[in-house]
C-alpha cells in the first residue's frame, strides 16, 4: 500500500505538489537554521531518528493498531514539545533581526579592519609582556548568539587600550573572553565551551581549552595569552599554534579578516599543537 501510494503520487504529480515541496523546503530550512544557530544540532539528530522510527511504525502497522495511533499522536505532539523546551532559543531567534542590524553596522572598511588588526596585535603583545591572561575571539557572521549574550555587551571600536583594560586582573570583565566582530568589540566576559579534545597538550588549562573549543565549529578564531608564561597562541578550526610572534599574529589576523590571501588558515597540518 505504501509503495503503491508513492507510485500513484508520482503519476499524478502536479503544480500543487511542487508548491507543497517548496513550502516544506522553506519550513525545513528555517528549522535546520534554528538548530544550527542555537548550537543544538544534536537534538535535531535525535528528532530525525525518532521521526524515522515513528514513520516506519506508522507505515508498517494497520491503522487500527495502538502503535499506529501512538506514533501519529507523538508526531503531532512533537512540535509543541520542542517549542516548550526551547522557548528561550526561539525568543532569541525571533529577536535576531535586531542583531542583524548590529552586524550590518559592523561592516567595516578595509582601512578600519587593518587598524583593528594593529590594535589587537599591540594589545596582545602588551598583555603577553605583562603575563596577563587573555582570550580574544574573532567571530564570524554566524557566531552563536548565546555566547555573546553570556557576557556583557560593549559595542565599542577595537583599541589596544580597551582590550588591555578589560583583561587587567582586578577588572570585573577580565574573567572570560572578549568577542570581536569586524572592528567592533561587541562583548566581554563571555563564557566559551571547553574543548574535549584528548590530543591537546596536557599543560593546557581552562583558558586554552576554551580558546580551542570555540574554534572547533569553524565559526571563530581565537587568540590566547597564557597567564603563567605569557606565550601567545592562535586557535583555528579546533587546532592551535603556539609561540606566535607579532608578525605571525598580524598575518593570521589579516587572513582571518579576509584582508590577505589565505595561506595558513586553510592548511590543516599547520595547526597542530606542539606537545
Amino acid at each position: 500500500m505504501f509503495f503503491e501510494n508513492i507510485a500513484k503520487a508520482f503519476e499524478n504529480f502536479s503544480g500543487v505538489d511542487v508548491l507543497d515541496i517548496i513550502l516544506i523546503t522553506v519550513f525545513v530550512y528555517f528549522v535546520i537554521k534554528f538548530f544550527r544557530y542555537n548550537n543544538i544540532g544534536f537534538v535535531a539528530g535525535y528528532i530525525a531518528f525518532f521521526l524515522a522510527v515513528a514513520v516506519i511504525i506508522i507505515a508498517a502497522t494497520p491503522q487500527s493498531s495502538l502503535a499506529h495511533a501512538f506514533c501519529t499522536y507523538m508526531i503531532y505532539f512533537m512540535p509543541v514539545l520542542i517549542v516548550a523546551i526551547y522557548s528561550n532559543d526561539l525568543r532569541r531567534t525571533f529577536t535576531r533581526i535586531k542583531r542583524a542590524r548590529i552586524n550590518r553596522a559592523i561592516a567595516a572598511s578595509d582601512d578600519e579592519l587593518k587598524q583593528a588588526v594593529e590594535n589587537i596585535v599591540r594589545a596582545t603583545q602588551n598583555l603577553a609582556k605583562k603575563n596577563v591572561g587573555a582570550l580574544i575571539v574573532l567571530a564570524s557572521d554566524n557566531f552563536p548568539t548565546h555566547i555573546v549574550e553570556s557576557g556583557t555587551a560593549v559595542n565599542a571600536d577595537v583599541s589596544s587600550e580597551l582590550i588591555e583594560t578589560i583583561f587587567v586582573n582586578k577588572s570585573p570583565l577580565h574573567d572570560g573572553a572578549v568577542i570581536i566582530m569586524g572592528n567592533k568589540l561587541i562583548a566581554a566576559a563571555c563564557l566559551l565551551p571547553l574543548s574535549q579534545d584528548p590530543n591537546l597538550p596536557k599543560d593546557f588549562g581552562t583558558r586554552h581549552r576554551a580558546g580551542v573549543g570555540i574554534t572547533e565549529e569553524g565559526k571563530a578564531k581565537c587568540i590566547i595569552v597564557s597567564e603563567e608564561t605569557g606565550i601567545i597562541s592562535f586557535a583555528n578550526a579546533g587546532r592551535v599554534k603556539r609561540y606566535v610572534d607579532s608578525e605571525m599574529l598580524r598575518t593570521f589576523l589579516l587572513e582571518a579578516f579576509g584582508l590577505k590571501e589565505n595561506k595558513f588558515m586553510t592548511q590543516k597540518w599547520f595547526w597542530r599543537a606542539k606537545k
Binding site: 500513484k8 505538489d17 515541496i21 535546520i32 506508522i58 507505515a59 550590518r104
Partner: protein
C-alpha cells in the same frame, strides 16, 4: 518605515544568495518528507 523595508530587502537578498548547501539539504529533506507523507496518507 523606510528602514524596515530596507531591512526586509536585505534579509531577502541574504536568503536568496547565501547558504546553498543548507538549501539543498532542506530541499532533499522536504522531498523525502513529501514521499513518506504520500506513501502513508496517500494524499
Amino acid at each position: 518605515m523606510k528602514e524596515f523595508f530596507l531591512e526586509l530587502l536585505e534579509t531577502l537578498k541574504t536568503c536568496l544568495t547565501k547558504n546553498w548547501g543548507l538549501k539543498c539539504i532542506a530541499l532533499a529533506t522536504a522531498f523525502v518528507i513529501w514521499i513518506v507523507a504520500k506513501g502513508i496518507y496517500g494524499v
